[in-house]
Amino acid sequence: MLELRDIRLSYGNSQILKGVNLSVSRGDVVSIIGPSGTGKTTLLKCINYLARPSSGTIALDQIRMDYRRADKPTVQAIRLRTAMVFQQFNVFKNMSVIQNVMDPLIVVQRKSKEEARQIAVQELERVGLSDKLDMYPSQLSGGQLQRTGIARALAVRPDVMLFDEPTSSLDPELVGEVLKVINDVAASGMTSLLVTHEMQFAKKISNRIVFMDQGVVAAEGSPDEVFDTPSNPRLAQFLKSEVAFQ
């Protein structure tokens, strides 16, 4: 349902993405792993055009776009069908927890306040924040902020969830609560792309692993193939260093 072809992107003189291909089927949970700075975040941001590739194409079901001729309506169509969870949470700081979830529904989807509230309450319950509805971001822990971010993303009922290292700016003791929520989302059949350094978790929830290295997809396969019998030497080396780190 989601297909990226030959995505290329440079910042100044440095080529970050050098022709990335990626395809995701409905219901897939795909984890993207790889060393720091290889462009995993950038790739995810290309999907909703927060990063602007110089060339390449995207197809999301019927929506097709060539990045060289990106146009507003198509970008908007893609944005309406995807939702992103950010490494730095990016919860709206001027809104309470429930407002964060309601606002996109009211402003972008033009739903009524009542309907938006109903959905927000439901999604916030799903991430375990029912008792924090009226709190403001400055009063919440990182884990709570990220769960707010996840609820906000789920509430727009996207076709694809994009998780960008959702736990890597959390204190270790808060990682578990967020991983549990993501696990539930993945188990619910939501098509998800997950950039992560949590190898055990990726192995558990994904049906496919993509290893990115130096701006390209260097290896991909089922979790067993990638983690247990890595064929690519750089992948093997990366996995070893990650295990040593954990």
Partner: protein, 235 residues
């Protein structure tokens, strides 16, 4: 001469002083929004003019700006052949509006830039249009960041209103000088002290208003206020 003699005269001059202040406050605000918009969203020529304007307003001494307005306005009036609307008061309003707008733009622009890039990303990713993003997310946060700087801008504006007497506008300061002259330049200390009190009060009011808005912002909620906040969440 005593206070009861002096005060009514000064108070009579207060409305004009306040009028100059409010015109500059409001016109300056809109000028600042306009200048800031073009300094953030670069448009050829217009953005450069906005830069030039802001650096004029910030680097030329305010007295000088008032003289420029005073002597420049008639030229402008002649150019557009609108006669007879010119007066020192109008020049004072114009001069201070320009000054305040430029100064304020340099409060607004950094505040806008200080809003986390991630807030833009989140709004964009959810499909917010540019206006929606500004009005719902980035604007309110920038306002919160800008408020202390805005408070300072207000206080400087109030101070600089005292300069309009140099171009002959009859504000409290000019009036005080007239009264003192009538009394052969006696009682200066009392008079200036009284003026100081009037200006302090004006600044105090401005500060209280700004602080009220600062406190009201949901973003004011800091870690120490955790316990109190839920009570305020509905305001």
């Amino acid at each position: 001469m005593n206070l009861s003699e002096m005060l009514p005269e000064l108070i009579l001059a207060l409305p004009l002083t306040l009028a100059i202040m409010f015109v500059a406050l409001i016109a300056g605000f809109f000028l600042a929004v306009l200048a800031t918009t073009f300094r953030i969203r670069r448009v050829p020529v217009i953005s450069q003019l906005a830069d030039l304007y802001v650096s004029y307003a910030r680097s030329v001494p305010v007295v000088l700006q008032l003289f420029v307005a005073f002597y420049g306005l008639p030229v402008l009036v002649a150019l557009f052949e609108i006669s007879d609307f010119f007066s020192p008061n109008v020049a004072a309003m114009l001069g201070l509006s320009l000054y305040h707008g430029g100064y304020l733009s340099e409060v607004m622009r950094p505040a806008y830039l200080a809003v986390d890039r991630g807030q833009h990303d989140a709004a964009d990713s959810l499909g917010y249009g540019f206006r929606q993003k500004i009005f719902r997310v980035v604007g309110p946060q920038a306002v919160h960041i800008a408020l202390p700087g805005y408070g300072n801008a207000l206080i400087y504006l109030i101070h600089n209103v005292a300069l309009v007497m140099y171009i002959g506008a009859a504000d409290v300061m000019a009036t005080a000088h007239l009264v003192m002259q009538r009394h052969y330049n006696q009682y200066q200390f009392e008079t200036y002290l009284l003026l100081a009190v009037i200006y302090s009060l004006l600044c105090l009011v401005a500060w209280l208003i700004v602080r009220f808005f600062e406190r009201r912002s949901p973003m004011y909620a800091s870690a120490e206020r955790q316990v109190k906040m839920p009570l305020m969440a509905n305001v």
